[in-house]
Subunit: 231 residues, 2 copies
């Protein structure tokens, strides 16, 4: 077998479309492309020095992850995030993640607990490290993803990944709102503790509270923003 020739990781050859998609996602999440802005295929294609076909497919991908909106014969636009859409998103996350951590606690705590502990520790480590917001957000995302991953229901994880980018948008906002990164990191600990106690109800309550607080901050932020600049 070729696998015996130690350490040859399959070359990441699945390519262009994914790369284009990633570039666009990064740009949107970084705020480089304002909400509502048109994403003209030919413009992007020209900038990236390729044809419209792969760009178009990348945009279709972004559409299914909710960052971009498509209108027939009119093209793609960066989706405008409203207070309502963020509120709905966080309600869905509460629904999903409380159910996920319930199942995790009941049927998979032994395997999941070390992973959760490690990731919680990583969050604290990052908090002490510095203030690379994107790193914090990615670590937080990974924590929540772990919960869905170990829920025993593949579709929970699939759904989480589907809303991951929009979630990230919320987290970026929250990150900016937290003065103390340690405080943010600390909010995960009660969840881990509840899982350690094999107390599903408590775990569900803890993550419900955790996400609800986040929801409050995010909706508040977008509410102010919408009020602030209605020109």
């Amino acid at each position: 077998m070729l696998a015996e020739h130690r350490g040859f990781v399959p070359l990441n050859r699945d390519g262009l479309v994914d790369r284009v998609a990633k570039t666009l996602v990064d740009a949107i999440l970084a705020g480089g492309i304002p909400p509502g802005e048109r994403l003209a295929e030919s413009t992007i294609a020209k900038q990236m020095d390729l044809s419209r076909a792969p760009v178009r497919e990348a945009l279709r991908l972004l559409e299914s992850s909710g960052l971009v909106e498509y209108r027939t014969n009119r093209g793609f636009f960066v989706k405008v995030v409203s207070v309502a859409s963020m509120s709905d998103l966080y309600d869905l996350r509460i629904l999903l993640e409380t159910a996920a951590i319930r199942r995790l606690t009941e049927i998979n705590a032994d395997v999941a607990l070390p992973a959760l502990r490690a990731q919680a520790a990583e969050l604290h480590r990052l908090a002490g490290e510095g203030d690379d917001l994107m790193a914090h957000v990615s670590a937080d995302m990974l924590f929540h993803r772990l919960i869905c991953e170990h829920s025993g229901n593949q579709r929970f994880l699939q759904l989480f990944d589907q809303i991951a980018n929009e979630t990230k948008l919320g987290l970026l906002v929250i990150g900016r709102l937290y003065d103390d990164p340690h405080q943010m990191a600390g909010t995960h600990d009660p969840i881990v503790e509840a899982v350690a106690l094999r107390d599903a109800n408590r775990a569900a309550g803890a993550i419900d509270y955790h996400i609800s607080v986040a929801k409050e901050m995010v909706t508040q932020h977008f509410h102010d923003q919408q009020e602030g600049k209605p020109e």
Copy 2:
């Protein structure tokens, strides 16, 4: 190959992609294209008398609705449904629809109730009418969709629509299992009653039971099928 599955009729020129997608969905749901089968772009394009571009986009759409799987440089394949994936799907549905009907009962019962009543009546009407399986399934789907639609959370509806086609696949199986269509229609009544009483817990319990029964039948069916013909 595909030509044997179904004679595709040439299409009109408006909303081409959606039309192609719908044609393919119908073919897959009707069982005309077996799971695991390759969906070659050029073959489909030739049969529908158009170029590969719209076919490709249609397939990408189907991918996000879970009926089709894409592998880079290898193309699209009809997804094979396993017992596990169906079980996971129904667990997600239970989670989604119990939450949806809770919200509906609490904040939107007045508006939703007449719609639910009408759709339940329609189910009974169809049961008396004849045995057009597809019509029954569509009507049942619409009932469940109404619940998400009136939940007050747009994302609930969006998620429902996303898993609608796979759900339909399950319902088609169940439809064949129910001897008496009236029995199937009747299982919706307790849900409507609970909403009428404004009893959210009871409504949630009723739909939980309703979907759980369905889950049992579907997983049983796919289980037997997998055992029955393992070549």
